[in-house]
Amino acid sequence: MIASSLHPSLLFFAGALLLWFLPLAGRRVLILLVPAAAFFLISQLEAGTAYNYQMFGFDLNLLRVDKLSKVFGYVFTLNAFACFLFGQHLKERYEHTASLAYIGAALGAVFAADLISLYMFWEVMAVTSTFLVLARKTERSYRAAFRYVMVHIFGGLCLLAGILLQVNATGSVAFDGFSLHGLPTYLILIGFLVNAAAPPMNAWLSDAYPEATVTGGVIMTAYTTKTAVYTLIRGFAGWEVLMVVGCVMAIYGIIWAILENDMRRILAYSIMNQVGFMICGIGIGTAMALNGAVAHAFAHIVYKALLWMSAGSVLYMTGKSKCTDLGGLYKTMPLTMIFGTIGALAISSFPFLSGYTTKPMIIEAGVHEGFFWVWLVLEIASAGVFLHAGIKFPYFVFFAKDKGLRPGEPPKHMLLAMAFMSFVCIFIGVFPQPLYNILPFGSVEFHAYTFEHTLNQFQLLMFSALAFFMLLPLLKRTETISIDTDWFYRKGGKLFVSFVDQVFNGINSWANEIFAKRFPGQLARFFDEPGGNLQKHALQLISELSGDESLLTDRKASVERRSRFGAYPVGGGVLLAVLAVAALSFFCFH
């Protein structure tokens, strides 16, 4: 019975609390037990909705179980298990708490049946994941975390505004496929796309993830972007604009990854590239394309975590993450190298690994619909993936020039986690049917292993490798960073501030000079001797008009003398003051 079952998120939130009462050994068991139990729980869930509650007069549901939410639930918990196995060495509670809450919120977002519940979990994800960046405890990570959370607050606000308008327009909080094209759905779409790292709101990913901790980086790669992929599948399947967005992301990720020097930043850009494939599939919107997007998300989460684990092991053992500092690590870290290479080949959709049984589904779905441009861009991007992630990452980290670093293999639990993920990569690559069976959009009519298809893929990949080694001099690593769209709020923000500073503070100080200093001063001098001054100015005017200035000085002197001795009635001054006040009040309050 679904009503009596536990909510999978609840396990994670309870685990996050329980962590603070357990000793280290207990915590180590707990963080493995929670995802394992959640995985089992999800496998037992029957289709339907549960956990109803009321808010703002709406009937809301925290748990919607169908094939789509289940498959994401499976991979989220499977990945969580491997990530926590990888993170067994952490003694502090802080990071694990944030991770558990973050994953719990991601599961909550996936199982939420309505927009309001979705929004709540969405924001919890943004906040809790920020702590995984903060946990690095460096000046750079603090700043990156701040930018990260600001971008996500922006995305969250877009989502919230969209949800409010949507509820206002339709009277419904239901989260299903949106058919209405208009401001509400566009805002929701923008909110989702921010989390999917679609340009121009992409830079938070490559900015923040590489600044996260060793384990934090591994965990973050799976949840934020893939929750966004899930929500896009649920809400925006078949929206053609997503084909364009996906194609742009696939290419964008490659080009920036090639320019990059930091190994984890290379992998961050390849997330963007891979999510591009999925979003393109969502835009195509046929059952096969959507199945492809889901399957690819599943495979991607696993091999991407594996790649980040191998990069994380290198960072953990050497304290370095720049390609210019690394190289030749195969000598003392051969196992890490092998696992990393399996991940790198899987992401390149090398036959017999997981990417090969999932990604071509999306491309073939596009071909079925006759989208020549989609096919062309995604094939080029497929070649490019091998270039930037498949070869570049392992080559510059584990081979290339030996920099004399001699770290050993990482701790055993890290190797075990990588071995586990490598196994999953190979399993899905060789036996894709179990994965195909749980895909949500009808039965899968896709056969990856035809001789022709496999041969074509091998040709594509191996000649990409040839291009890599022939143009290696052009790919030489440099100690640089590459400007991305975060420039606008990092450098552009500063320029904007200094521009605004110059303009508005300029106007301010000018106004201060005129209205606060000079003008009142003159007024004060004038009203000091109002009657006398009025006469003096009148005299000046008359004499200038008549051209006769001979008597001017004498007359001014006599006016001054009279006014000094108070020869004018006080009433004259009062009258002028009243007139001045009247004029002022007319201008100010009219």
């Binding site: 490659i254 091998f386 040709q459 960073i481």
Partner: protein, 92 residues
């Protein structure tokens, strides 16, 4: 952040790639694989998706190679404008 506490150099397990003759073998093997991959194209009938060009022998080989060359050149070009020194954002 946690660091490797054992600063002593780990034992070198293998240095296979340091030997020029191994690299030479690797290269020969690699070129052999390339040839073997294109060879079947000459003898089999290939399906096409959009254009008859796809049925030409070695189409995907050329496609992959040219794609990568273009990608590398484009990113090199983009890099001229976008690559900055590492302290770019720290400078005032």
């Amino acid at each position: 952040m946690a660091m490797n506490e054992n600063k002593k150099d780990a034992k070198v397990v293998t240095d296979w790639f340091d030997h020029p003759q191994n690299i030479k073998r690797l290269k020969i093997g690699f070129y052999l694989v390339l040839v073997l991959l294109v060879l079947p194209d000459l003898f089999m009938h290939k399906h096409t998706l959009f254009s008859s060009v796809e049925a030409w022998p070695g189409f995907y080989a050329v496609f992959g190679f040219v794609s990568c060359v273009v990608i590398i050149l484009v990113s090199k070009l983009v890099g001229f404008g976008l690559k900055q020194k590492e302290d770019y954002y720290d400078r005032q």
